[in-house]
Symmetry: C2
């Protein structure tokens, strides 16, 4: 714990990697590209899961579970989807090991246990789920079908980074089926807004809601909606996607229904997902050179109390005051840790809880006891203030709300300062070099221009914002007419 | 829904299979041996997870997540464990698909994307976890390490049955590391008792706590504890296991620690798990020929209210009375569904909620309204009674507790009636043929005798009960001396 973190200003990327490890969030495993999510990191993910799951259920969805494996013949049924994922599929070809006759004590794949049909480890579950929906849907009465799954998926990425891009990751994937196009689009948009609300209200990360360009669409979707967040280095991070699938999967898997009017038609589909990638967004949006800064709503420990004492007697006196505070805070649903271990110094503990992003730290020593006060330090601003013990529970409770609001506002201000309306190519390239962030600029709507801009600048169109105003303009690259601005940025 | 279930007395096995499907719990998938857990089934599993997870956390454990894949070299490090699972491993050998040049639109495994080292889809995670623990543990200060994981695992079973035995299943696996043998044994026993408490208090399924014989131990464990439950056909179902691993995995993965006394030693391990198999136990322990019987503590819907009405006006009148009841029940934390759909008749709904095992059904029609009464039907006994509307909330609340207790007591009585102390071989074989159940009998303690009995009768030693009294006796097969009775049964 003694060595300090790399500074964001010097090496943002290294700062992130080190922070993830030192704050005990995750680490690389013995399996190429797969991570171990450590207990502290996982406890944040659990809080995310709980909040999202509640929101899914409030919007009428239920959870289910579908197989990890997708038989190759199902996998390839929706061609665009298959094409999109074929290059990053882990494939199970055998179902048994046997003793290696050449190497005693070692095992080898048993060549006699070869599968007739290979199984793909799901990179996403549309194929296996739509092949199941075929049996579940006959009539309009079976619709809408609103199902979500919490699962692990595998995409064989060559360059991986903890949380941001890993071969295996955890996620939820919603898969819904509807009687009409309109209803499916409404569902796609509803779930985008659920994600946006979660990002902003729980993660305290402001996001832009938008649509992807055709180039960046999910393989097999007619339309992909997304939320995009700005990290502290000005880069964009796609934090969630919601896809309108049209009738593509229904056609690939022959999922038809009989309507109220007794007509047969293919059903309309959506899918939507967020993953452990959100952990990366959370870390990069708020944290500083001393460590994590967690929004109170997702912090596993919201308040830590560090007693400053010499010997058991002093600790006992402090505990007499602290324990009722702990009890009262818990009663209010606040998660609090009283760290009275004598193995580490208070200074060490302060640094440790800063690193871990605990929103509020209370410190109390003999002098505080005499004065009837507690020192309160907030993680986000590092401000310290002394409060009377009698008002500490209310103070903490209010402060947690303040911190949640403050870090959201700070991230929003940061995004505002680093978002530029740009109308010329010179300005566009200059800003990308000197002052990375979001650029709202006109684009002529063609994939070719989009591709060209990417080649020239590494910036991509993050999205066409839903709230973009209609405005006449000229494409920054080609000068061709455009009716609204899109968001360009370099991205994770 | 019109066709009735097979009867338990006629074909218990078929009754189970049909019930699982018709009650919308699970179904077979397109992947051999893998199931789809349907929303209603999954919502029961979620309740189990929540209760277990709370108990794990109360006993000091935290959750984490380790990779799905285990490199072959790690997998084979603990030889006994590897041997035990080698024959049922799904193996990933390739990481890419490509277009099949011979079949346009079809994919094939890309032979150029062969992994240097094969990856085993985890059948259990000791290997990957202990290889990680090596880096996490240096000193006694890092111990105990108390971690649990909720995950999917794959064991390539040839004969599968929904929930009871599937190629992929969901489970939790605890993996702990300790400084002393005694502490690790205490942990193993503690978790056994957590499982037993969960089975009895939540699932309402009485269990026998015991130890497995050497033959039946987990591959790589020094001792395996288990809980065994009796199903309604008298067969035993192993509902959870807790393993004392000794230093086996620590030695295989070189996990050492420096003790307080500054001595280096291998750490001591445990692992323990329960799976979606518990769903099978829950279903088979309580349900009847009309459908599921769920314990209130795990029922997704605890109370259903079915209005009996003609036309909207009547429904509105009934709703005026029912909605405040719904609100009050919800306030008490009771999950209640007011099924006022007019698409199905009340009779159809009654049958449907019986099939789904909803513990309490309230029915209310125009006459009830006039009388200020509600008809209350309990699922476990099928008893119906009429109560005043004013006392309905309290009645329901008490009744839920009654039902929870009653089905536990019923299962306990059933087990008592079907458990026999047997002292002769003749009696032993006769009971197994005529009146299957648990048999408490003496055994000479040798694997050979155990094996012989299994060959002759298909009955196995389910466990050596922890609470077995010391008693001199003679082995039912060999007549050799024995000091306590063990539990024999046929099993799932
Ligand atoms: Zn976007
Ligand atoms: Zn047992």
């Amino acid at each position: 714990m003694s060595k300090s973190l790399p500074k964001r200003s010097e090496n943002y990327s290294e700062w992130y990697n080190e922070l993830v490890k030192r704050a005990d969030l995750a680490e690389n495993s013995a399996v190429r590209g797969c991570m171990v999510i450590k207990p502290y990191g996982y406890s944040i993910w659990e809080k995310m899961q709980r909040a999202l799951d509640d929101m899914f259920k409030e919007t009428g969805h239920t959870n289910a579970y579908f197989p990890l494996f997708v038989p190759k013949s199902l996998f390839e049924a929706e061609e665009k989807n298959a094409e999109g994922f074929a290059k990053e599929c882990a494939v199970v070809t055998h179902y048994r090991l046997k003793n290696n006759p050449d190497k005693p004590g070692k095992l080898m794949v048993d060549p006699e246990a070869k599968l007739e049909e290979e199984l793909i480890v799901r990179p996403t579950s549309e194929a296996i789920i739509w092949s199941t929906y075929k049996n579940w849907i006959q009539s309009y009465r079976d619709l809408p079908l609103l199902i979500n799954q919490w699962a692990n998926v595998v995409r064989w990425e060559m360059r991986t980074r903890l949380f941001l891009r890993t071969a295996e990751f955890l996620w939820q994937e919603g898969h819904t089926a509807h009687a009409t196009r309109e209803e499916a689009i409404a569902e796609t948009e509803q779930m985008l807004h659920v994600y946006a609300t979660f990002a902003e209200e729980f993660m305290a990360v402001p996001v832009i809601r938008g649509k992807k360009t055709a180039n960046e669409r999910f393989a097999g979707a007619e339309d992909t909606y997304c939320i995009e967040a700005m990290m502290q280095d000005g880069k964009a991070l796609q934090a969630g996607t919601s896809h309108f699938l049209g009738q593509n999967f229904a056609k690939a898997f022959d999922v038809k229904f009989v309507s109220k009017e007794n007509k047969q038609d293919y059903v309309w589909g959506t899918s939507w997902g967020v993953s452990t990638r959100l952990m990366g967004a959370l870390i990069m949006a708020h944290s500083d050179d001393e460590g994590l800064i967690l929004p109170p709503k997702l912090a596993p420990i919201q308040v830590v109390i560090v007693p400053i004492f010499k010997g058991e007697e002093q600790l006992n006196l402090i505990s007499e005051t602290v324990l009722p505070i702990v009890a009262e805070l818990k009663k209010k649903g606040i998660s609090v840790k009283f760290d009275h271990s004598d193995k580490q110094s208070p200074g060490f503990k302060f640094a440790e809880y800063e690193l871990k992003g605990v929103p509020i730290r209370l410190a109390i020593g003999a002098r505080d006891l005499a004065n009837g006060t507690v020192e309160v330090a907030r993680r986000d601003t590092k401000e310290k203030k002394t409060y009377a013990i009698s008002e500490i529970v209310e103070t903490v409770s209010n402060l947690l709300e303040d911190i949640q609001t403050n870090i959201y506002q700070r991230a929003l201000n940061f995004r505002f300062e680093n978002t530029h309306q740009v109308d010329t190519w010179d300005e566009f390239t200059k800003i990308l070099e000197e002052n990375p962030g979001f650029i709202a600029a006109h684009w002529d709507g063609t994939p070719e221009t989009e591709e060209k801009i990417k080649e020239l600048t590494k910036a991509t169109i993050r999205c066409i914002p839903l709230e973009a105003v209609e405005e006449e303009g000229k494409c920054i690259l080609t000068g061709n007419p455009s009716s609204k601005r899109v968001i360009f940025a370099k991205s994770y």
